[in-house]
């Protein structure tokens, strides 16, 4: 185990996988010489050289399309889109191509590629730069979606992504880059795609969360412990495939649930999870499930109103208290 940041854990995973497999290469805007706009690709050019660490023009749709082609041609591209917001310029290649090619060509090819994208709000970047678009990816079959909350998970999940023979969307939360944690040194430390994890045990209420929302949920759980409320925190880690069983097992134990997502509320992933919980735990639920979500507004710049648009520790606390006091 070594202590390192979420950023460095991702960086380490990239390096280890590039060392392990010469068909892995990295491409994106400013990933090479500049070492990434969030400095995630630091040291890659120096170690692996220009052919494997490639700067691209500002052409997002083509970054993904080139990755699709390269994957079809036998490589393992790891593309970085500078932020997830720019994935909206690449939806054609992501949704119309990457996610469908294996299927529409009758399984005759496969696309072992990863798209890394920093995202999330809370940095006063305004409406065009603060989106949480995880639901857009989850809605479309044909790819896996990972979104780690901790440095260790970031390493283990990214390595799984790069080794996967299916396309993987790997989301990184911009506000977690500097968070530190213990990370296994094992160069084969991988976390299976499609598994959620109970990050904290509790028996009165389940908080389902992911990425930065998991970090907040853990804070909330700690806070509420002193009030005698015992929260279990389920960290999704894989948004697709979704590990429904782990969620349901927890809710069956606690009988109550709050689902926290950072994206827009309407048709957000919280709706899907809530719907699954209701469907499968209807008879044992002790109170209505509550969704704590991003507001259905474009993100405002001003920090004093921006924070109202994203779940915060105090709003999650409020949600938990509400569910605890509710009943059927």
């Amino acid at each position: 185990m070594s202590e390192m940041t979420y950023r460095d854990a991702i960086n380490l995973a990239l390096k280890e996988e590039m060392r392990r497999d010469p068909s892995v290469f990295v491409l994106g805007e400013d990933v090479s010489l500049y070492e990434g706009s969030f400095k995630v690709t630091r040291g890659l050019l120096a170690e692996f050289g220009e052919e494997r660490v490639r700067d691209t023009p500002i052409s997002e749709n083509t970054i993904i399309g080139v990755s699709v082609g390269a994957a079809m041609g036998g490589l393992r591209p790891v593309a970085e889109l500078m932020t997830v917001n720019f994935a909206l310029l690449a939806m054609d290649q992501i949704i119309n191509h990457m996610a469908k090619i294996r299927y529409m060509f009758g399984g005759q090819t496969f696309l072992p590629m990863t798209i890394r994208m920093p995202g999330g709000g809370g940095s006063q970047l305004g409406a065009q730069h603060s989106q949480s678009l995880e639901t857009y990816f989850m809605h479309c079959p044909g790819m896996h979606i990972l979104y780690p909350a901790t440095p260790a998970d970031a390493k283990g999940l990214l390595k799984s992504a790069i080794r996967s023979n299916d396309p993987v969307i790997f989301l990184e939360h911009e506000l977690l880059y500097n968070c530190k944690g213990e990370v296994p040194d094992d160069p084969d430390y991988v976390i299976p795609i499609g598994t959620a994890e109970v990050k904290r045990s509790g028996d009165q209420i389940t908080i389902v969360a992911y990425a930065r929302m998991t970090v907040l949920a853990l804070e909330v759980a700690k806070l509420l412990e002193s009030e005698g409320i015992s929260c279990e925190v389920v960290d999704l880690m894989s948004l697709a495939p979704l590990d429904t069983e782990t969620i349901l097992t927890s809710v069956r134990k606690t009988g109550r649930a709050v689902v926290v997502d950072e994206c827009w509320s309407t048709c957000g992933l919280g709706a899907e999870i809530t719907s699954r919980i209701y469907t499968h735990c209807f008879d044992i639920l002790k109170a209505p499930v509550k969704r704590e979500s991003g507001l259905d507004v474009p993100m405002p710049y001003s920090r004093h109103i921006e924070k109202l648009c994203i779940p915060q520790v105090d709003t999650i606390v409020r949600a938990v208290r509400e569910v605890m006091s509710g009943s059927y």
Binding site: N61, T62, G65, V66, G69, G74, D92, N96, F110
Partner: protein, 325 residues
């Protein structure tokens, strides 16, 4: 002329060109029939009229070279070597189809032939072609990537992004524009500010040329030359082949936006009878030889239709297969 033809292409090759063009035409016309019968459904875009491009271009490439195309790609797949029976079965939606009936007319694919797919999003294949070319270079393979597309595709953002990228990364991509002068009902000068398409590569420093896409020999020579240039330099090249589709955009289109006069001009340039006449005039084939070729092609297509008819539908379980590895 005789001398020229033979100098350029061996005699047997010339006959093969004819055969490939003929089977392409025959295949498409039978598709139209099967569509009318309801055996083929969905969108069906026929290639009739453009055969000289697929045949000449494919002959100018190495078998190892990748080919990608759009949705009007039956001929390109067949000329590259795809089994017409499996192509027809794909169009019928049968489990024996090239893509198990999951792709249909617009999504033929056969990696064993390095035929890397038909794509139905206009312009979608550009970046994928660039990526394949990168993979080839990265892996040290001696192969280039040929990317076919229509005149309508050149105004998509991907065209621009991909041409710039291919030149910037110095990748072996041969761009082949099949300019049939229409994107559905829109004539090229009504969608492109600069209607002379091969000139549009000036902004990327990519060499380009225009070739008569109704002349299989001209296309063959141009592509052969260009492919070698791309192979040697490792850089992109661009060919505009002017051609015409004798049918509407798809089976739903009566093509009323084109005048009979225009159609006639192009009909007179039909690559099939014209090439046949040349073969006869130059003494490369007798009428009997051509008749044999034609009969053989008809039989192959007959068999393709029977095969497709008799093949089973995909199992219900196929719905859930081939999504993930």
């Amino acid at each position: 002329m005789n001398a020229t033809l033979r100098n350029v292409v061996p005699e047997q090759e010339l006959l093969r060109f004819y055969e490939q063009m003929f089977i392409s035409r025959e295949f498409e016309e039978r598709c139209a029939e099967q569509y009318a019968k309801g055996n083929i459904t969905g969108f069906l875009h026929l290639y009739s009229g453009q055969e000289a491009v697929a045949v000449g271009a494919t002959a100018g490439l190495h078998r190892d070279d990748y080919i990608l195309s759009a949705y009007r790609e039956h001929a390109q797949a067949i000329v590259r070597g795809a089994d017409p029976r499996r192509v027809m079965a794909e169009l019928f939606g049968k489990s024996t189809g090239l893509c198990k009936g999951k792709g249909g007319s617009m999504h033929l694919f056969d990696p064993s032939l390095n035929f890397m797919g038909g794509y139905a999003i206009v312009g979608g294949q550009f970046p994928i072609a660039v990526g394949l070319a990168f993979a080839s270079r990265y892996r040290g393979e001696d192969r280039i990537t040929a990317c076919f597309f229509g005149d309508g595709a050149v105004n998509q953002g991907t065209f621009h992004e991909s041409l710039n990228w291919a030149q910037l990364w110095q990748l072996p991509v041969l761009f082949i524009c099949e300019n049939n002068f229409y994107g559905i009902g829109t004539e090229v000068h009504r969608s492109s500010a600069l209607a002379s398409i091969h000139k549009r590569t000036c902004g990327y420093d990519i060499p380009s040329e225009k070739v008569d896409g109704m002349d299989v020999i001209a296309v063959y020579r141009a592509v052969k030359y260009a492919a070698e240039k791309v192979r040697e330099s490792g850089r992109p090249y661009f060919i505009e082949a002017t051609t015409y589709r004798f049918r509407g955009h798809s089976m739903a289109d009566p093509a009323k936006y084109r005048s009979a006069a225009e159609h006639d001009v192009w009909k007179a340039r039909d690559p099939l009878p014209n090439f046949a006449r040349k073969l006869l005039e130059d003494g490369i084939a007798t009428r009997d030889v051509l008749d044999d070729i034609e009969a053989k092609c008809r039989q192959t297509v007959d068999e393709a239709v029977s095969f497709a008819e008799e093949s089973p539908w995909p199992e219900d379980s196929a719905v859930w297969e081939d999504i993930y590895v």
